[in-house]
């Protein structure tokens, strides 16, 4: 094997942080020193046997590093994801070996598919016990290989500074992703001569971003300039690339209508005149239908997920496709690109903006508005203004928009409430919509909201969660109780696993198989955790309750009873083309 020590020989630019003189420190202290050098402020974690030396070292770092003791490692990693998504920084997690490490797997898979930068440090049994089925030993490196961008097992403390430097560099650069570093207990305890921390800025086998090929940009500009009905699709790449401003300039100069994937939501203000709405299965009518009418499709930082494209062989076949992405493996993966623009959109977008003509497409935009009107009439208005006593999810979100002016961070779980929130929430600024997109992880919402609050302490963070998802990670109310994250929790309770029920209704002859989930008394549960709470059963209580929640200084829980069998529409049924979207 070669170790990182050997890799050291490879050219690495480095800025020495500490003087060349060495001091003797333990591997555990080296981990914490690395965090401080990387600007880490908050760690989400849970101690255990194999990570105790690191926790022991942490005892002396209380003033420099804030550690949030979660109630379950899955909660810890989702919190770190929420933190990374609102702060734009790398989320950091501690977990112990064995069950502690395996509890991270769902969060790693979620962060992998949603490109969230994380560094997870897990404890591991002593190196001499590896492979002996020791207590709380599990092969975490092999378990996590498919769900990490990079992982590495440290058995010698001298490796720790270089390995952590690589970990932070890999997690945050290029297309971000989760990195896991497994450190055996002996390496945590081992003292070694520490010469300071050097940030990693180059790994020879790793190219986070390419030099941009201008000929493709010229081709792209030519296509855009001659287009009659161009259409922009944008994804999280705009947010991850911190290219919101560049994207807005591109949209405004080009005059092209732009629609978002759920992870791209909030990259462009929702009320921007060229923001035509949401793509995909529960997206807006116009963006879906007109995908199959546009002549040039410009995809920015998105990966043509099947929930966005519907049936692939009937997806935008008429269009020339320009695909901007930092990950070359995404180009041509699902949709063949006519012009591939491989690069960081923070760089490619301004170059493209320079090359295109200032234009407007009034007739083309009017088409989106026509579809919008139909959708408004058939779906949106009735959903927001139900004509019976039953409250709808949409009216709750609509009222929230009014009360928060679109300035809140909205964190959602997975299911009907997620689709409704993404459809109707208003956003003025980026990094405001935090949701589990690719993996669809129920239980993501509550812990992610806790992390989101730490990542954006000055903003209002509202967690919208269903009655199914809340029960998957409800123990994190304990984290809120202990550390006081001022998260506003709204449970939209329809007394069903609503999205599965909707599919059973539409595609399985209404055979409701194990979707009628019951709930505890959430107000009592919240009060048990010393979190104030209310249950809202009637519309006339709603505004007051939401105001109470928002005005309260601290965490608050609202359970809102909504229609039991409401469906989310429009909908592109699975296996159908985007142009076959149903309004009811």
């Amino acid at each position: 094997m070669s170790t990182v020590k050997e890799l050291e020989k490879q050219p690495q630019a480095s800025t020495p942080v500490a003087p060349a003189a060495t001091t003797s420190i333990s591997g555990s202290v080296a981990v914490l020193e690395a965090f401080i050098a990387e600007g880490v402020e908050t760690i989400f974690g849970y101690p255990g046997g194999a990570i105790m030396p690191i926790y022991d070292a942490l005892y002396d770092y209380n003033d420099k590093l804030e550690h949030i003791l979660v109630r379950h490692e899955q909660g810890g990693i989702h919190a770190a994801q929420g933190y990374a998504r609102t702060s734009g920084k790398v989320g950091v997690v501690f977990a112990t070996s064995g069950p502690g490490a395996t509890n991270l797997v769902t969060g790693l898979a979620d962060a992998m598919i949603d490109s969230t930068p994380l560094v997870c440090v897990t404890g591991q049994v002593f190196a001499h016990l590896l492979g002996t089925d020791a207590f709380q030993e599990t092969d975490v490196i092999n378990i996590t290989t498919p769900v990490t961008k990079w992982n590495y097992q440290v058995t010698d403390a001298t490796e720790i500074p270089h390995v952590l430097a690589k970990a932070f560099y890999i997690a945050a650069s290029g297309r971000p992703g989760p990195v896991l570093i497994d450190i055996t207990k002996n390496a945590q305890l081992q003292k070694f001569d520490y010469a300071g921390y050097q940030k990693c800025t180059h790994i020879r086998s790793y190219r986070p971003k390419p030099i941009i090929r201008r000929e493709f940009l010229h081709e792209a500009a030519k296509l855009i300039n001659s287009a009659q009905k161009p259409f922009i699709l944008f994804g999280q790449g705009v947010i991850l690339g911190r290219a919101e401003k560049e994207f807005k300039q591109f949209v405004e100069k080009s005059g092209i209508p732009a629609a978002w994937t759920i992870l791209g939501l909030s990259a462009l203000p929702t009320d921007h005149p060229l923001n035509v709405g949401m793509l995909g299965m529960h997206g807006n009518y116009g963006p879906n239908v007109l995908t199959n009418e546009c002549d040039v499709l410009i995809a920015v930082g998105m990966r043509f997920d099947d929930r966005v494209t519907g049936r692939l062989d009937k997806y935008a076949k008429q269009a020339k496709v320009i695909h901007l992405d930092i990950d070359p493996a995404e180009i041509d993966k699902n949709v063949k690109a006519t012009v591939p623009v491989w690069g960081d959109c923070k760089e490619t977008l301004p170059m493209l903006t320079d090359l295109i003509e200032q234009k407007v497409y009034p007739q083309w935009l009017a088409k989106f508005n026509e579809f919008r009107k139909q959708e408004e009439e058939i779906c949106i208005y009735p959903e927001m203004h139900p004509n019976d006593e039953t409250m709808s999810m949409a009216e709750v979100i609509n009222l929230l928009n009014e009360l928060t002016n679109g300035d809140a961070v909205m964190v959602t779980d997975v299911g009907q409430h997620q689709m409704v929130t993404c459809r109707y929430a208003k956003f003025n600024q980026s990094k405001s919509n935090i949701t589990s997109g690719g993996l669809g992880t129920m239980g993501f919402g509550l812990p992610a909201a806790i992390g989101a609050k730490y990542g954006a302490p000055d903003r209002t963070v509202i967690a919208i969660i269903g009655d199914g998802g809340i029960q998957m990670t409800i123990q994190e109310l304990g984290t809120i109780m202990q550390f006081g994250a001022a998260v506003k929790i709204i449970i939209l309770n329809n007394q069903f696993l609503g999205m599965v029920r909707q599919w059973q209704q539409l595609f399985h002859d209404k055979r409701y198989s194990f979707v009628n989930i019951t709930s505890p008394d959430y107000v009592m549960v919240a009060n048990g955790y010393h979190i104030p709470a209310q249950k809202v059963e009637h519309r006339e209580q709603l505004r007051k309750a939401l105001t109470d929640m928002l005005d309260h200084d601290g965490a608050y829980l609202l359970e809102i009873m909504v229609g039991k069998e409401n469906n989310v529409f429009p909908m592109v049924p699975q296996g159908c083309s985007v142009s076959e979207i149903r309004l009811k």
């Binding site: 961008k149 180059h202 020879r204 030099i211 090929r213 070359p328 591939p340």
Partner: protein
């Protein structure tokens, strides 16, 4: 597009766990690996994987991109059989008496290029290198004479057009590499026609 045999040549760092990272790219997509060989390359500390799969070119291209996405992979190339020189090695253990008495050993050696590695009174080990059909043919011949053991190695392949990886590695090591390093030959029609362009 029809499926055909492709040989992937992957240049990597020498890192524990990388074999798993590469192997699961195939298994996740339920693609059978026909043959896999890891070995040193022309450059010290750089490893070279040869992987043979039966797939369409489109799938193979996408696989190469997924492989290159791994942090410790420098480069992944794919070649059809006419673009490479390749060999496999096979060993055959047969009972000496049976073979000496009943078989035309000379023909085996001369016509099929086999070599005797070990000759003992109880058994003899023949070795042959070549393409699959050639080593298979010998297997067919020896079969009736009480073949005791048979084993065949993975394919090792040399890319006809390759000029080696030395220059490319130097470019990889540069912090601000030239445009030619960064270009991905699988992207777009403008890419260089040469298989081995970087």
């Amino acid at each position: 597009m029809t499926k055909q045999e492709y040989t992937l040549t992957v240049y990597t760092e020498n890192q524990i766990g990388l074999l798993t990272r590469i192997a699961i790219i195939f298994s996740r997509r339920k693609i059978n690996v026909e043959s896999l060989n890891t070995s040193p390359s022309e450059i010290e500390n750089i490893h070279r994987f040869n992987i043979v799969i039966n797939e369409t070119e489109e799938v193979v291209k996408k696989l190469c991109r997924q492989i290159e996405k791994q942090v410790e992979v420098l480069k992944a190339y794919y070649s059809s059989n006419d673009e490479i020189i390749w060999q496999e090695l096979a060993l055959y253990k047969v009972p000496t008496q049976e073979v000496a008495e009943k078989m035309q050993v000379e023909r085996l050696l001369r016509q099929y290029g086999a070599r005797a590695v070990v000759i003992r009174s109880d058994y003899t080990v023949f070795e042959a290198t070549g393409h699959r059909e050639e080593t298979d043919k010998i297997l067919e011949i020896l079969g009736p004479y009480g073949l005791i053991e048979f084993v065949r190695s993975a394919r090792v392949a040399i890319i006809k057009k390759s000029k080696g990886f030395h220059e490319k590695l130097q470019q990889f090591e540069e912090r601000q590499p030239g445009e030619e390093v960064i270009e991905n030959e699988y992207l777009g029609d403008k890419s260089a026609s040469s298989v081995f362009s970087m």
